[in-house]
């Protein structure tokens, strides 16, 4: 949109019908900065579409501006080329205007014929001879000036559909003819009802016309505000007070732990004496946390199992809640089958509730080693180790039962 001042200036120039067209055009183009040209031309093109708004000399000047603003480029690059061609082919348009447009169009291709612009618009009309002009068909002009190589730029249907946002609303006494010149503004004369000045209107239109025009409106409902969720408002309650803790483990006596550690280390290497065994059991029972610090790791478990199955059972029972227990189980399942390992499993199944998962694995392992068990059984049976047979059977059967 043009500012008030700009539109005033433009209209002044359009009105100066005595000046040579060329001069007006170059004046205007030079006074307007380059980036305003499109706005200027757009507004003019909108005005030109309303056949009443501008008079004939002004129209000629306006077309000349439209054309010349883009004359450095190919005619097809002129955004207003279709308006120019359409008017040039429009039978309702005055012949002189159409001739003028044709001359404008051809002037860009051949530099020779620019003489007509040297006269003023009024002179052009005065000296116009319709017989000296031929009016070609629209198709011919389109072929000549609209380059098909340039496709139409993308336009939203919205923009294509838009119509001018200005329309006449003549304010006249009822029953009067809006076209009669009687209501034209007469300078000096007393204003009468229904009279109006065209000048005022044109500058006003220049200011307010816009490219976008009027288009169908779309309702875009605002999304509803999200309801406040139950939990969303923060309900506050007093916090529990968490005090900083003193570390009572500072310089604590760890000798008992040391003893058990030593004993466990020994237990990895060979059977403990009954007294030693007793001590381990008692100490472990005294301090439920000691078992976590007694130096046993899953990797060492097989040694413990082989040498001191009873201690292994005790330790594993106490480790039942440890996060590492599964590792211990895994080791236990994977270690070589022996009387001791089976005894540990046997006692474990009765002492604690083993996880189903573990029992399943155990069962599978045992099944795989079925032949091994049978072999063991045979050996022990033949050597009259009846007691050992009992261990094996009692180990296997509860497992089968559980499973």
């Amino acid at each position: 949109m043009l500012s008030q001042e700009e539109s005033g200036r433009v209209f002044e120039m359009l009105k100066s019908q005595e000046k040579p067209v060329e001069e007006i055009v170059s004046d205007l183009i030079s006074t307007f900065p380059r980036h305003r040209h499109f706005v200027l031309c757009t507004t003019l093109s909108l005005l030109l579409q309303d056949k009443k708004a501008l008079n004939s000399t002004e129209r000629l000047v306006a077309f000349a501006i439209l054309h010349h603003s883009y004359c450095s480029q190919k005619p097809s690059a002129n955004p207003f080329i279709s308006l120019i061609i359409n008017s040039a082919c429009d039978d309702e348009v005055e012949k002189f205007e159409r001739a003028f447009l044709l001359q404008l169009l051809s002037s860009s291709s051949s530099n020779s014929n620019k003489e007509f612009l040297k006269q003023s618009a009024a002179d052009y009309i005065k000296g116009f001879d319709p017989s000296s002009h031929a009016f070609p068909q629209r198709e011919q002009l389109q072929q000549q000036y609209c380059d098909k190589v340039h496709p139409e730029p993308f336009n939203s249907a919205y923009i294509n559909a838009s119509t001018k946002n200005a329309f006449p609303d003549p304010d006249l006494p009822h029953g009067c003819d809006p076209n009669s010149p009687e209501f034209d503004f007469q300078p000096g004369a007393k204003t009468k009802l229904g009279a109006g000045s065209r000048d005022e209107t044109v500058t006003g239109l220049l200011t307010h016309l816009s490219l976008k025009g009027l288009d169908p409106r779309w309702i875009r409902p605002l999304p509803p505000r999200f309801p406040v969720l139950d939990r969303e408002l923060e309900w506050l309650i007093p916090d529990n007070n968490h005090e900083l803790l003193w570390d009572h483990g500072m310089c604590a006596d760890t000798s008992r732990g040391a003893a058990v550690r030593d004993l466990i280390a020994k237990a990895l290497k060979g059977p403990l004496l009954p007294a030693q065994y007793e001590q381990v059991v008692v100490e472990l029972a005294n301090d439920p946390k000691l078992v976590y610090h007694c130096g046993l790791t899953p990797r060492k478990l097989p040694e413990l199992v082989e040498n001191n199955p009873l201690i292994a059972v005790d330790v594993l029972t106490k480790l039942i809640n440890s996060p590492e227990i599964s590792e211990y189980y895994t080791v236990l399942v994977n270690m070589d089958m022996s009387l001791h390992s089976m005894e540990v499993v046997n006692r474990l199944t009765t002492a604690v509730e083993l996880p189903k998962e573990f029992v399943r694995i155990l069962y599978l392992t045992f099944k795989v080693r079925d032949s091994h068990i049978i072999k063991l059984l045979r050996i022990y049976a033949s050597s009259r180790y009846v007691d050992h047979c009992r261990v094996i059977c009692s180990t296997s059967s509860p497992l089968f039962l559980i499973y």
């Binding site: 200005a166 006449p168 969720l229 290497k269 440890s322 599964s326």
Partner: protein, 854 residues
Amino acid sequence: MDSRDSTQSTAAGNTSGEDDSGVLSVTATLAKEAALYFQSRKFDECLDLLKQLLDKKPDDPKILHNIAIAEYFRDGCTDPKKLLEALNNVKNKSEELARATGEQTEGGGNIGNKVGLGSKGSGVVGNQVSAANSGSLVYMDEFDVSVAKLNIAVIWFHLHEYAKALSVLEPLYQNIEPIDETTALQICLLLLDVALACHDAFRSADVLIYLEKAFGVGCVNQVDSGSMGQQSTNLLAKYSSVPSNSSTADASNSDLAATVNASENALSRTLSEETLEDDTVLALSSLEISGQNLTRPVGLSSNELSRTLVDRSISTVDLKLKLQLYKVRFLLLTRNLKHAKREVKLAMNIARGKDSSLALFLKSQLEYARRNHRKAIKLLLALSNRTEMGISSMFNNNLGCIYYQLAKYHTSSVFLSKALSNSASLRKDKPLKLLTFSQDKSLLITYNCGLQYLACGKPVLAARCFQKSSLVFYKQPLLWLRLAECCLMALEKGLVAPGRSLSDGSEVKVHVIGKGKWRYLVMEDGFRKNGHVDSPEKDDSSLGSDGQPKLSMPLARQCLLNALHLLNYPDLNYSKFGLPSNSSVEESESSEGASSKNLNHKSLSSLDSKISVGLGQVTANGDAKDQKGGTSLEVIQNSLSYYEDVCRRENQMIKQALLANLAYVELEMENPVKALAAARSLLELPDCSRIYIFLGHIYAAEALCLLNRPKEAAEHFSMYLSGGDHFDLPFSREDCEQWRVEKIIDCEELNGGPAAAKNPSPEDSQDTMFPKPEEARGTLYVNIAAMFAMQGEFERAHHFVTQALSILPRSTEATLTAIYVDLMLGKSQEALAKLKHCNHVRFLPSGLQLSKSC
């Protein structure tokens, strides 16, 4: 070997008795004295002793730890950051040492394995170590950093840094078995507090169940005692087995007796009695507590027993109350109101005769959740310590919540701002103690203020509040949704970019140009179509010069994308609203490392959630109220599955809103492609509300029209066409109600007849603004008319727009489209008439200015 054994046995006999002479090393004695001074809050003396200790054992991490704690208290608890730093150093040092020794022993173990049985292996270590240098003898528990870690978590907790607290606590909790009972209990309680503060129901449930299992105090519930006795704890088993062991009966007896004295310290940490090995204390107390229902431990003489009962009764009840209140909080969080009611009653019974403002707060919260607002207020008023700043701030905030729910936004804002000023003076008046920090809940109150401002239609103030509270809530999708709503509201009110706004948009500006015969009317364009409020290039930062959020469409889009991201990738570590979907639960499980092999109780949570899904079928109808009684485990699981359901539903609702808002914002920013994508994902959501489906279709159709694809746009309308050219109502009134019903159900079901009648909830219909079904139909007519007009089918457009005008005679858009269609049909007189009759037209004379320029 023998000598070692003998020293061991003496040590074993003596360690427990603090009055036993001689055997305790100098350091141990000093340490005990220091602990005593610490407990009697004589920090200077305590620090003196600690310094002496440090001379004897330089760089001992535990001494350094206690020094840091004591110094912190001596200095008036002013510098938590410094303490944090010190504790972190201690922790790192310990871990380093432990690693070093760990390698040593592991190395030994390796050798042992390779060489075979009987070789040196770990035995080497043991044998080489003599009693003399036992100071350097390395035990894992000497480098146990659980206390230091717990203290770090405590600080983070008080600073409201729950995510950080969690990151410390979670590993501790995962490996809690080796940790001594006092510390373990504190860890559990703190973790529970953190989880509840984060609204993380799953984690809270896990800890609650564990507490119940391990300490046997958790939920003193009806039927439970039997099953509890059984499942509760190997601890019990261990301890009752001790006395039966003849050889140590005496020792352990005295042990028990001695620790009994210390129990007070262990639990309440206020009395300065002598402490011994705290580990046994809690185990004992748990034994005690369940012992009330179960068999008494065999080995204790009645004399001792009665003493322990007297000594410990208070703290036992305290712990019981504490856990009961935790349980109530959990049930409130999971909205199992029925059980919450029962448990809160139990809690009030336990708390009888004592001041428990927490119990009152929770009871009030329960009534608030049940929409008995009057009763909730009454309970709040019953608080005895209301004048205390911290309490007063919470009190006012909660009243603010209640009045908000009653849709009395003005009253609500009065209370909320009171709460804020309480909070502020709390910060000013008291020295910066940890507790003061944690009492400072201003950021939470600020969020409530934001909601209240939004309800009052003050988007800028609301956005400021939300921005402030984002320090806490930045991981909440809802926060971002609210911020986006602020932007949209600002747009609606024309606050986004001056001179161009939606409220202006309902008004058509018509310039009257010229006079008389030459009078022209020029309709101003650029409303709506130019909703593109802030061009992106000048909106590099979403913050204005004053650091306040600059409400704009790009900001709205950013917020919505944030929220969507958070919804799609919920972060389990800090989920206020318990987002975990099944998949994320599994993720967290597998991230625990060897969880597939994990056969211990830690897999409980996943097992539980699996079980509870099954149970959830029963209660699919919304409330976990069907199971009367039941074990507390069941109650917890049912609550969880119900809560999971609620969360899923709420997240779905949030997602719908997010996508609808996003589509709208993209349209405003003239990004039809993105708008279309958002609208399509909205339409693809399962169980989408019909309201949002309608919006999705409208937005998608508009985007398609902008993209020149009117045929596809028409498809979005066609589903509402019922034969010929008539539209159905796109949704019904019930659809609107449905979104509110969610809240009310509980109240109706739980309150039963008369109580429900007292609670008129239709008031809160105000705080949302769903379109009316009839208007929605009008919208459809307008838009389809516009679409036909754009395609040049003016006759059809005319038909639809006439319908639209009959439904929405005051709609500007409908009028404008009608004018457009008339103009295109050449009926300019009718167009003029419509324009002149339109209510929202403002005619702007421009004659004056013109005369100047001419």
